[in-house]
């Protein structure tokens, strides 16, 4: 009886301690992320600007409005194009680089790892300036291509819709491949070497080992990087603003950039409408993340 009572209080103490440990972080997230999101949800049913804001009539006008908003639809298409093209290329490259670096016979591993990770430690201003000037009409890239005879005359990379999109995709790949590679490399180092030895004895070749052993064992990491990349791409803002300002003619504008412009970039913000747009982006990201988790999570 005595011991049982003591055991209960001990368990109670432990329980209390567990909750106590995660309370500060949880409270902060609720106050700093969820509360603003709830406010945005309420605002999304209002229209008017500044002091003239009022409940919308009809209530869902901001949500029906976006169906006719050609610029937003264009921005949505652009964002999904980046998602479909850039995320797989980047992640495959990252796995490939990690696989190459995970070779125990390779020399200068630390050097290569550092170099490849470096881009994501750069400040955004410098990286966008550098890319902009490299792809400028008179810039380095044009000079090289013209001298090699691939181009006849200087090409306006950032001023042509398809190539401007391409530059953004290249910039994203440049900046984030190394970051993702670090996660894969770490994942690979968690795989016991004996697993590979066994596969070798069974006569599996490089590709087979990769598909049958590496990929399944890396699955949690792959799912995690996928979610991070999807989230990052759907909320893509910096590259669109700094590299192309969304141009030419909105051809590279992303959803977040468009929302920002509607709130802060062009005169008095229409916060009712932008809140509705924010909410749609939030739902989209959440849906994709859930799908990803369901596809990736075979453990339970």
């Amino acid at each position: 009886m005595e011991t049982k009572k003591k055991g209960l209080t001990l368990a109670g103490k432990q329980l209390a301690a567990g909750w106590l440990f995660l309370t500060p972080a949880t409270l902060l997230i609720f106050v700093m992320s969820f509360w603003p999101m709830i406010q945005a949800f309420l605002t999304s049913f209002k229209s008017g600007k500044g002091v003239n804001i009022h409940w919308a009539d009809p209530l869902f006008v901001n949500y029906t409005r976006m169906l006719q908003d050609t610029m937003f639809i264009q921005a949505m298409k652009n964002t999904f194009l980046y998602l479909i093209i850039q995320v797989p290329i980047m992640l495959i490259l990252a796995i490939l680089l990690a696989q190459l670096l995970n070779n125990k016979d390779l020399k200068f591993k630390g050097f290569f790892r550092t170099c490849i990770f470096l881009p994501c430690a750069t400040s955004l201003v410098s990286y966008s300036l550098i890319f902009k000037s490299m792809f400028a009409t008179q810039g380095l890239f044009n000079t090289i291509l013209v001298n090699l005879g691939i181009l006849k005359e200087n090409f306006n990379f950032l001023g042509t819709p398809w190539s401007a999109k391409l530059v953004i995709i290249l910039a994203l790949i440049w900046r984030w491949t190394g970051y993702n590679m670090v996660f894969y490399l770490a994942g690979l180092q968690n795989i016991e070497y004996s697993v590979y030895e066994a596969a070798k004895i069974d006569g599996a070749n490089g590709w087979k080992t990769f598909w049958n052993i590496t990929v399944p064992l890396l699955k949690p990491t792959i799912v995690m990087t996928f979610i991070m990349s999807i989230n990052g791409t759907l909320q893509l803002f910096d590259e669109s603003v700094n590299l192309t300002k969304g141009g030419p003619a909105g051809a590279t504008m992303t959803m977040s950039h468009y929302i920002y412009n509607q709130s802060f970039g062009q005169g008095v913000g229409n916060f009712g409408y932008t809140s509705a747009l924010c909410f749609v982006v939030f739902i989209l990201v959440a849906i994709l993340a859930v799908i990803n988790l369901k596809v990736g999570d075979t453990r339970d």
Binding site: L10, L22, L97, G110, I116, F117, V125, N231, F237
Partner: protein
């Protein structure tokens, strides 16, 4: 003899690997080279994409020192950035490691569910939070203060997740043993858990410091005072006039990039280990 031969054969087979890695490393590093050369050139040369070293280093540096208003020049901005970033990193590491530890080592289904909900916060678009957070900070009187700068960024689902994953390596037996010895729960965290998670703290610290150092959108909203200006704000002020001095700007960018790079170089071994724990 055969061993040596074998080794050189392995190296020879790795030649394509080396070529690809050198290629990618070159692409990764080239913009840094460009940034350094640009800091030595004058504005017209930078705009024209000259990639060799120039003779304007001293002038660019002098102009950079003169740039900005009193109390908001290069050294002031650097100092501010250090103060905010270090404060944010330390508080973030403490709060998130505590939470990661709590979620993993005391886990039950309620906490797991809560964790799932917290992950949703990753998907909240930043634009949506700007005005509500500004209102909140102004009501708490935190505008232009370190508190206002760090509060929205010190608890992130990603950091909690990282610590939670790494906490899986922490054997529960040790906790039990410590409890039997009569150690209170919070002491277990400080005395047993914290010392063995050094590399996790290093990895999370690098990422947190990088995010904090490069943050722009929120600091711009909350730090209106000149004297509270950060390094990215200082650079942005130079980068967006009717006319821009690119030589000076790139010199500033160099100053802005060096701290994050140094931190990464110094901590890179621990960084790699910490990430390894996180993806286990």
């Amino acid at each position: 003899m055969t061993k040596k031969k074998n080794r050189s054969m392995i190296q020879r087979r790795l030649i394509p690997t080396y070529i690809f890695l050198i290629f990618w490393a070159f692409i990764s590093v080239f913009p840094f080279y460009w940034m350094i050369t640009a800091a030595t050139n004058n504005t017209v040369d930078v705009a024209r994409g000259v990639i060799s070293f120039g003779h304007d280093t001293v002038i660019n540096f002098q102009n950079l020192l003169k740039s900005g208003q009193d109390g908001a020049r290069l050294w002031d901005s650097l100092r501010n950035s250090f103060v905010y970033s270090i404060a944010q990193t330390l508080i973030c590491l403490f709060i998130c490691s505590l939470a990661g530890y709590g979620f993993e080592l005391y886990h039950d289904k309620y906490k797991d569910r809560l964790f799932g909900i917290l992950l949703l916060a990753m998907m909240v678009p930043q634009v949506a939070t700007l005005v509500p957070l500004f209102t909140m900070m102004s009501k708490m009187g935190l505008l232009n203060s370190v508190g206002g700068f760090v509060l929205p960024a010190i608890s992130t689902p990603f950091m909690i997740m990282m610590f939670r994953q790494n906490s899986r390596n922490f054997p529960p037996d040790i906790m039990e043993a410590a409890r039997i010895d009569g150690l209170p729960e919070w002491k277990i965290f400080f005395k047993m858990y914290l010392p063995v998670q050094k590399s996790t703290y290093a990895a999370a610290g690098v990422i947190c410091f990088m995010n904090s150092w490069n943050a722009y959108m929120w600091p711009k909203v909350v730090m209106a005072d000149n004297r509270a200006q950060t390094m990215p704000m200082f650079i942005a002020n130079m980068a967006a006039g009717y006319t821009v001095d690119y030589g000076m700007l790139m010199m500033g960018v160099l100053f802005c990039s060096i701290p994050t790079m140094i931190i990464f170089f110094v901590l890179q071994k621990q960084f790699a280990e910490g990430i390894t724990g996180a993806v286990k």
